[in-house]
């Protein structure tokens, strides 16, 4: 088991190498001038472009630039983020908690709601509950996230003034800034920090701001999970071992929950794992619409401004996240399914 995990982490380095070469290669298709222009803010500075190219070696061969970048990264220097106006590493830890906080609440909802709704609709196939979850799933899966987020924002904030965008109300944000000695950012996640600092008002207000983003995200993402669970349950219920269980005298509850659901969970573990991994880069639409400055928002901003170090950083991060998630999925699989042996 341990050797298996270690081996997977060993492969992680190759994954990261591949990802970084690929992305670096794509970014190299921009001309040196285009990349230097990212550091130019006024027309007057345009004459500095040749100097910037010279200074940073932007017209060096691909491998020279890549090796230079790798050297700096291995020293812990991820570069400077223009968007955040601070070093990339520092900026990452500033934005990441915002995304992580949302996922911390959204992921369990997505997983458990998906499994629950999926099993209920699979068990009561073609009943009203199956049809209504199907409609729910189609709406969630096919509506563009940004549109759905905007509609929710318009209805709840626009008409009912209920859930405002952002991460924290202005008054509370000001109180933190005004008294920096009374508030320590332990995790960067406002709901948790609020509790740790004994500021229930901050925690509740942050949670209040999380309602709409989580709602949007859950409705969009739960659909896939739910449908996979539903088809899994339906498939399992038609299998012969269910008949054996019925012939034994098993009641419906036992058949559905003890036999069929555990078998149907296998594909759901894969899907749910991928969903959670994907959500780690933040849903761009959700973060932009609700004005939450997390990884997704940062990624979108950096991409439009060709903020190369940031893009590289987020891609490497996602590489790590996916490898770790896949590893977790494999371990969970081995736990659920005795037929699967690791190594």
């Amino acid at each position: 088991m341990l050797t298996y995990i270690l081996r997977r982490f060993f492969f992680l380095t190759f994954v990261l190498f591949g990802v970084s070469v690929l992305l670096f290669g794509i970014l190299m298709t921009f001309s040196p001038e285009r990349r230097a222009a990212a550091y130019v803010t006024t027309p007057q500075q345009a004459k500095d472009i040749p100097r910037i190219i010279q200074q940073f070696g932007l017209d060096d061969p691909f491998y020279v630039q890549y090796v230079r970048w790798i050297k700096e990264v291995s020293r812990g220097n991820m570069g400077w983020s223009l968007v955040a106006a601070r070093p990339v590493g520092e900026a990452f830890w500033r934005y990441f908690p915002i995304t992580l906080e949302m996922n911390l609440y959204a992921a369990p909802i997505v997983i458990f709601l998906g499994i629950w709704l999926g099993s209920v609709s699979g068990i009561h196939r073609d009943s009203w509950i199956d049809h209504s979850t199907r409609i729910f799933a189609i709406i969630g899966w096919s509506l563009p996230t940004f549109l759905f987020a905007l509609v929710l924002l318009m209805v709840f904030y626009g008409y009912f003034q209920m859930f405002s965008p952002g991460v924290l109300s202005d008054a509370l944000a000001m109180s933190i800034i005004d008294h920096p000695d009374q508030y320590t950012a332990y995790t960067g996640m406002l709901t948790i920090d609020g509790l740790l600092n004994g500021r229930l008002d901050i925690a509740l207000d942050a949670l209040h701001h999380l309602v709409l983003p989580i709602l949007t995200y859950v409705i969009v993402v739960v659909a896939l999970n739910m449908r996979v669970m539903r088809s899994g349950i339906i498939e399992e219920l038609s299998k012969d071992y269910v008949l054996t269980a019925r012939a034994k005298g098993a009641d419906r509850r036992t058949i559905h929950y003890r036999h069929a659901r555990r078998n149907a969970l296998l594909p759901v573990v894969t899907v749910a794992g991928q969903l959670v991994a994907m959500s780690m880069e933040g849903s761009i639409a959700v973060e932009v619409v609700y004005n939450r400055q997390g990884i997704g928002w940062w990624l979108a901003e950096s991409a439009t401004q060709l903020d190369m170090p940031v893009l590289m950083c987020i891609c490497l991060f996602m590489g790590v996240v996916f490898v770790v998630t896949n590893l977790t999925i494999d371990i969970l699989y081995a736990y659920i399914d005795p037929r699967i042996r690791l190594n």
């Binding site: 008949l243 098993a250 037929r339």
Partner: protein, 392 residues
Amino acid sequence: MTPLIRTENLVTNFYTYEGVVRALNGVSLVVDHGTTFGLVGESGCGKSVAVRSMMRIIQEPGRVEGGRVVAFFDPRDKRRGIDLLQQSEAYMEHLRGDQISMIFQEPNAALNPIMSIGDQVAESFLFHKKKEMAAAVLAAMDRENGRPPWPLGAFQRALYARTAVSPRDPLVALTGRLPLVRRWQMRLRREALRRSVEIIGKLGIPNPEAVARLYPHNLSGGMKQRIVIAIALACSPLLLIADEATSNLDVTIQAQILDLLRHLKETEIASILLITHDLGVVAETCDRVGVMYAGNLCEVANVTDLFNAPRHPYTRALLEAVPRLHQDGPLRSIEGAVPNLVNPPAGCRFHPRCPEARAICRKHFPETVHLGGDHSVACYLYTDRPRGEGAA
């Protein structure tokens, strides 16, 4: 002979997208106490549907739509019997696995792949023998009552005492569901596992303790079939239905399983209903035989009568199609194909392939005639009357 279970005009239909599949068209058969009844016929003739209808485990989109299944399991009800089709689902759950149980065709699919063998066998005991097992646990608890009864232990003991009186006690049911709290049943599960190991060992599996901890994929097909039989036998049922239990096994394993069934019939269970398409198996093991064709039972007779003097043209054709060692010339087969049950032929469903078909065969299904010596047949060679009510 005292009947154990009897079906009367059993009708089962499947509502598929292609149309209504009329899988059973009024099947009446009797399985007597202490006998082995063989049900033979080609694939798709409704043998499995018939027995699943009897147990009421027809899967969607099938429905049992007519007839009666009268069981004489309860000694108090010897004369009248109970119509299983009229009983509640809870009653059937209580009956299945305890009084009637079933062995399935494909041992590789019949076991839950992610549940250990021991747990799967133990389920039978947990469904039906809770009361006895709780009493056993209670007795064991009282015997080892050396340490002071700490409060949780006393609570546990009280729950076992309640289970021993009535396994459907509301408090028992509630605490059996709550997470963590339901762990009070650990000893019950252990007792069920102990009994499972016992029954697995009884079926000739070496090292049953180790096998109980394995999963289906660790076992061979023959071993799996023995486990399926162990599940079916766990509560010593009155009727064991073997649905093509040996069809998918090697010939040697097949012989072993048949020997096992024969042995079990003498020691453990009252009657066996054996479904097969292998006439050799029938000749070897059965007392009475029913021949099915396209959802109808065409002939029922004692095994020697059927093989020596088959009456129905289909039975004759079937027996002629069996290859023999000293036979010259090509193997005989039945002309034509099995009818599509969405749109079966009118009248006797065998008439398009029957060498002796007459005009009336195309119009009405014949009534079942009793020819004496417990030999009954549904064919116009022996009667002129069509079947009365319930005929399709």
